[in-house]
Amino acid sequence: MNIASFAPLAVVLPILGAALTFLLIRHSRAQRAVSIALLSLTLALECLLLASAWNSGTAAVTLGGWIPPFGIVMVVDQFSSLMLVVSSAVSLAVLVYATGQGMADGDHDAPVSIFHPTYLILVAGVSNAFLSGDLFNLYVGFEILLTASYVLMTLGGTGPRIRAGVTYVVVSVVSSVLFLIAIAMVYGATGTVNMADLAIKLGELDQGTKTLLHVMLLVAFGIKAAVFPLSFWLPDSYPTAPAPVTAVFAGLLTKVGVYAMVRTETLLFPGDTLNTPLMVVALLTMLVGILGALAQSDIKRLLSFTLVSHIGYMVFGLAMSSVVGLAAAVFYVAHHITIQTSLFLVTGLIERRGGSSSVDRLGGLAKLSPMLALLFFIPGMNLAGIPPFSGFLGKVGLLQAGIQLGTPLAYALVIGGVVTSLLTLLAIARVWNRAFWRRPTDAEHPDPVLLSTPSARVSGPGAKVNDRVTLLPRTMVGSTAGLVVLGVALTVFAGPLFGLSDRAARDMLDRTPYIEAVLGDGTAVPGNTSGGGTR
């Protein structure tokens, strides 16, 4: 019996955890233990799934005993299992961080007891979306994670969170309705929602219908992935949520949208009909996002804009529909999930230590807390793409693929990618110079916490320490450091990871492994029109 048949457990275990933590809502210690234990178990299972996908290729699990085109299918291939492992590792780190914050703060800032069940439901939704081999089940996965995210976004129900939550909920619901309309039209046109079956049947439709369905799906996923003209909601809603929640949203939710776009482009609509518009959109996403980041003074908002901007890189890699480009995009998604989440976690620590997340109020943090400075510096440089780090490797892969493609638009995107990378460096360096490097007294409106610290230090033991100076809980720093180390590990093990992304990209562009895994060997797979397999 193959380990891949246990794939549904990646969804079931977090839901089980959610049920248990909901029962244990009055016992916060047991709640913490259960949620961390179940998430670790899920992560271990997903590592096994990744190993199985690496060794024996794509596998499909049929649920409820229905024969594939009719029932719900879960598909474990290299891309989906890689996404599962990275997302669960990141969610585990954020969960530890959040429990650290909860233990330090108590229930004053946010009702932590409801946090655990909701968070586990979110993880289940993300896993379901990654594993789904069925368009409607993908929609259900999206809805599970979105509904959980509505609750997490408005945790505590304070004014700014409710205001941001309204925008977020309305935009998400509209995108879900668009997705559902697209599913209805796909079903009307082909009579199936199974993705492997669709891969064959969509090819038989006429070009006009195909383009309509393609655009509908891309718009629905584009809103979730925050691709430029549809990204307006993200910087507005993410920064107000609690730090761990923002971190996990930034890392995972947009990437689920990107994942769905990758599946749409490679499996359902192969070929390059919409590649040109996608490339233009990718260029605009990169440039508009990063220019927005430069205008911000709040670190969380700045990072939200860099998040939008770097989605552009992934769409760029996807739009090239070549093995090199898609492999680089897969690598970039794994890198970006880790880095963006760790940056948001560090920002949470900065806010805690410095009393604010606005660079106008911060200063001198490098001297106050060298550990914090290190934790910000490494992922910051990684995000900007400074040579040894994985951000650099991912970008180099994308740029190489762009040059290999060689069209004028690809060259424009290569230039745009380099400019975006430099502007990201500028944005990160500005945060670094202001929040960490200068003296606190040089800040425009220095936070009293920063100014009062030296006296608190000097007063020594026994003296009344200024109670506004909060030191950082060890669990929070530890989990952030763990995530930063994971980001560095992606650099160290970039070779094997690139090998995995390359194989994943090859399989996705080939389509045969996926379709045969679902519909059985010997299924007639229509010719691959993209020609990507040969590149």
Partner: protein, 201 residues
């Protein structure tokens, strides 16, 4: 395949009303709009199932095409449950907005407004016009800080320049003396209002 025209017209009307309503600023109307959109989509899914047929319970001797397609109805059921959850949550949010702000409108983002109102003039970077040390002095920016005004044309009369000794510049949509603009970004200024507990909270 015959199409149920009534259903299609109702669906179109629901979409039209729904889109009109979600563009309103009042939250209750937005919620009603979302509900109409969800129901219109349910009708669309129903329409994809083809014309009405027998209940999909297997009986011997009935040809396959006389049964109704059960899958769209299963999809609709799921989508109804999901929109039910979302509607309940939206009602909660709307009530909370009412409790907090005593209005049923979408609130503006304070930070957005602040960024929009920030003058492009930056006190740190732009305040001092550095003394001219190069051997090719610029005629536009004098080392004494005169004639920095964006409005002054370079070819102004000498006596007119003398009447205007204070360097001015455009900041935040109005013209102000340079030192006032520099004070704008210092603590205690009315333009930038730091909240007591810090920016990000």
């Amino acid at each position: 395949m015959s199409v149920n025209l009534t259903l299609l017209i109702v669906m179109g009307a629901l979409y039209a009303c729904g889109i009109y309503l979600i563009l309103e600023r009042s939250l209750t109307r937005v919620l009603l709009g979302l509900m109409l959109l969800a129901n219109a989509t349910n009708l669309l899914i129903l329409a994809t199932g083809g014309y009405a047929g027998l209940a999909p319970l297997f009986t011997k001797g009935t040809p396959a095409q006389e049964y109704n397609d059960p899958l769209p109805q299963a999809l609709i059921l799921t989508s109804i449950v999901i929109s039910f959850a979302v509607t309940a949550f939206m009602l909660g949010i709307i009530y909370r907005t009412w409790v907090l702000a005593r209005q049923d409108d979408i609130q503006d983002d304070v930070e957005d407004l602040r960024v929009a109102e920030t003058p492009s003039y930056d006190a740190e970077d732009d305040a001092e016009v550095p003394a001219e040390t190069s051997e090719f002095p610029l005629t536009m920016l004098g080392s004494d800080g005169r004639n920095v005004s964006d409005h002054g044309t370079p070819g102004m009369d000498a006596d007119q320049e003398a009447d205007q000794p204070v360097a001015t510049l455009v900041a935040g949509g109005r013209e102000m003396p340079a030192e006032h603009a520099a004070a704008e970004e210092k603590p205690g200024s009315l333009n930038v209002d730091p909240s007591p507990e810090g920016g990000g909270k």
